[in-house]
């Protein structure tokens, strides 16, 4: 396992960085927000991501993807974190694609993966039913009915839910075992309510009321669906941790830049040792987060059986560090950091939202203790 980027990865990151800073800088995000964009992201950008092959980053070549792996997906999300770029990448190209890859039948893969790769669909991944992430609290049911299924339950704050064409729903079957069901959002019995969040994303709450589904709605390609679900969630965690890392890095960079130039009492405030020590501590924390996020991503690619503890730990660390970096950022900016005009507050908001997604630092710590056997 290597902790350095190979040439291909280096290229991917460089091209992502230059693409995003040109096409989707923070000003673009502000415009989406101020225009009350009903999707919460740019459809054009999503098409561009497809053109560049990003949508197929976890899809095998046979279905049109480039299959670069979870580490590569994380690199992209890290860059998106830096520019606060909203898109269905995480929900559709990471979570839904992984779900289809590890739990879909051949027919389901053939039907859905090319759509994901083409950028022609947005698919949400619906797991949580309560306010805090907890994949064990699943009350949604998908029970057999004739040749098909009937789905009942509610899901909350499904990422990209407002714009989703379909959602993959985590439910329990008639035996109480977890199962994954792919549901068209226009299906009868599906209602959704878009929720505008603090980071100006647009997830949605979903209610499923006696939704009648064909049998092929059930993702039944995995031998062990429960294990597959855990893997999907770990991939999601490591990838959103990478986004949080990007948020932390950029927030830190702009903060350092600010304190070097901001003068008070006749000197740059960066010359005060009080701030210097905190900045050095922050950099140390970011370095730690960077390493463990890389470790989690690589482990998912190379030795996925060992990934659970790394994914949980990376998620917890990236959550904590991104919140620290952004809140320290506001403090070091001072009054202007509180204004909407400066970007640092936007980073703070995204750090909070990304942090709660698929488990925050407290959740991650509990998971690490459990997985470590204490």
């Amino acid at each position: 396992m290597s902790f350095v980027l190979n040439d291909e990865e280096q290229m991917l990151r460089d091209s992502a960085r230059s693409f995003l800073s040109e096409t989707a800088p923070v000003t673009a995000f502000r415009k989406l927000r101020d225009d009350n964009n009903p999707d919460g992201f740019s459809r054009d950008l999503w098409s561009s991501m497809a053109e560049m092959g990003w949508t197929g980053i976890l899809v095998e070549e046979g279905h049109g993807g480039v299959e670069l792996g979870v580490f590569a997906a994380g690199l992209l999300l890290q860059e998106m974190g830096r520019t606060l770029t909203p898109s269905p990448f995480l929900s559709t190209a990471v979570l839904a694609a992984t779900a289809l890859r590890v739990a879909g039948s051949d027919a389901q893969k053939a039907k859905w993966l090319p759509k994901i790769v083409s950028g022609g669909t947005v698919i949400g991944f619906a797991v949580d039913e309560r306010a805090r992430h907890n994949p064990e609290h699943i009350n949604t049911t998908a029970k057999k009915q004739g040749n098909g299924l009937v789905l009942n339950g509610t899901k909350r704050f499904v990422a990209n839910g407002a714009a989703a064409d379909a959602v993959i729903v985590v439910a329990r079957n008639e035996d109480g075992a977890p199962c994954l069901v792919l549901v068209d959002c226009n299906q009868k019995g599906v209602t959704r309510k878009a929720r505008r969040t603090v980071d100006s994303h647009l997830p949605a709450d979903f209610t499923f009321e006696d939704v009648a589904l064909d049998g092929d709605a059930l993702l039944d390609g995995a031998e062990d669906t429960e294990g597959a679900l855990k893997h999907i969630l770990d991939v999601g965690r490591a990838c959103v941790a990478a986004e949080s890392l990007g948020v932390a890095e950029q927030a830190f960079d702009v903060t350092i830049d600010y304190i070097k130039n901001r003068e008070q009492f006749g000197v740059p405030i960066a010359s005060f040792q009080g701030l210097q020590h905190r900045a050095a501590h922050l950099l140390s924390e970011i370095e730690m987060a960077r390493s463990i996020v890389m470790k989690a991503l690589r482990t998912l690619d190379e030795t996925p059986s060992q990934a659970p503890i790394w994914a949980a730990a990376a998620k917890a660390k990236a959550t904590a560090v991104s919140r620290l970096a952004t809140s320290e950022g506001i403090q070091m900016f001072g009054g202007v950091g509180m204004t909407d005009e400066y970007d640092i507050g936007l980073y703070y908001k995204r750090a909070q939202a990304a942090g709660e997604f698929l488990g925050d630092d407290a959740w991650g710590a509990g998971q690490v203790a459990k997985l470590s056997g204490y």
Partner: protein
């Protein structure tokens, strides 16, 4: 009158006079009564409550009666507060006039200024805002550049203030103005009262990360104020400002610990408790418990400092400790609120008016450790003035 008699009479009076609508906790900023020329009461109850309390001088219980106050002793004022709390009575009037300008005028103002301004503050007729900070000054408050040039018996004022809270809704502003250009940085500043209807005064709200705009920029463009509106002596502004800032700090601290959502309530709201009411996530529960301990310690410290002050020990630079600890604590409380609320906390806008309130309060709390002197400034003050550590 003994304190116990006073307590009984107060309780009876409050019971008889506090309207029912004023006996439920304020839900948000919309329920606060700020007063002022253009104030629109949220309800008849709010109006009646202000009128009745103002008549007794109990909007400003410890101010002298001749200036519209209640003339109560500290002990009596505390009893009043306790009794109001016991019946959940709302504050009849909140204002920067009460918290900040009033104490400054009582200490530094001329008899004429006191008689002119204090009763109007007490009755909620005039709403005040403060004009201290300037763009780019930040913690280096004394580096202000707004200038006042004497022209006959008036100052002609030019410059810009920032972080003028509610300036767009205020009637008058108390501002720091550099009136003696050649004096050293901390001297040469005057504390001037300016009617905001004066020609040349304009104001513009600042949009904050919390989505709200309680703060403004305020511009002075050849605005004129009579010399008689200078509080204290010309050039004494810095001393008055420092005195006033310590009152502001106390205000921020009391905000920091007063009411609002706490993480246990948040966990209940979000359904994140188990069947015994225990916070479901054990790690989060531990974080909340440590917050509770610190909140209890802080609450005890506020009581202690009050007792010490009553005994004649000055609060002095210890106010900086309160400001530092209280605001950092409040930020932690809001962070834990957000963790306890999980995705519920992320809601920004919804159909209900209170939707997004948790997130807005959380974001608002970030300013606590910046406004009224940053945490860094407080730590500097403690290091220098309490611990007497040498300068670097």
């Amino acid at each position: 009158m003994s304190l116990e008699t006073f307590r009984k009479e107060t309780r009876d009076w409050l019971e008889a006079n506090c309207p029912p609508g004023m006996r439920v906790p304020a839900k948000g900023e919309a329920d606060i009564c700020w007063g002022g020329r253009n104030w629109t009461f949220a309800s008849d109850d709010q109006r009646i409550w202000l009128e009745r309390m103002a008549e007794r001088g109990w909007t400003v219980p410890t101010w002298p009666k001749e200036y519209g106050g209640g003339g109560l002793s500290k002990e009596e004022a505390f009893v009043l507060k306790e009794e109001m709390k016991a019946m959940k009575a709302r504050s009849p009037l909140d204002s920067f006039g009460i918290w900040m300008l009033g104490p400054a005028l009582l200490k530094y103002g001329s008899e004429e200024q006191k008689r002119e301004h204090l009763p109007k503050i007490a009755r909620g007729e005039i709403r005040w805002c403060q004009g201290y900070s300037e763009p780019g000054a930040g913690s280096d408050l004394a580096s202000l550049r707004t200038k006042g040039v004497l022209d006959g018996d008036e100052y002609v004022i030019n410059g810009q203030k920032v972080w003028t809270s509610y300036a767009d809704k205020s009637d008058w502003i108390f501002a720091l103005v550099r009136t003696e250009a050649d004096a050293p940085k901390h001297l040469g500043i005057s504390f001037i009262l300016i009617d905001m209807e004066t020609p040349g005064v304009s104001t513009k709200p600042i949009k904050l990360i919390s989505g709200k705009s309680p703060f403004c920029e305020t511009f002075f463009d050849d605005a004129r104020a009579p010399v008689s509106n200078v509080v204290g002596k010309p050039g004494q502004g810095w001393d008055i400002a420092k005195y006033l800032l310590s009152h502001e700090r106390a205000g921020i601290v009391s905000d920091a610990v007063s009411g609002g959502l706490n993480p246990v309530g948040a966990a209940h709201l979000a359904g994140e408790v188990d069947e015994n009411g225990q916070i479901a996530d054990p790690i989060l529960r531990g974080d909340v418990a440590r917050l509770t301990i610190d909140a209890l310690a802080f609450e005890s410290t506020l009581r202690r400092v009050k007792d010490e002050a009553d005994k004649g020990e000055g609060v002095g630079a210890k106010a900086s400790i309160l400001k530092y600890v209280g605001t950092e604590l409040n930020k932690r409380r809001h962070e834990l609120n957000m963790s306890a609320l999980g995705s519920d906390g992320l809601l920004w806008e919804g159909e209900k008016e209170e939707d997004g309130e948790a997130a807005r309060s959380w974001l608002r709390s970030r300013a606590n450790s910046i406004e009224g002197g940053t945490s860094e400034i407080q730590l500097n003050i403690v290091a220098k003035r309490v611990l007497e550590l040498p300068g670097s």
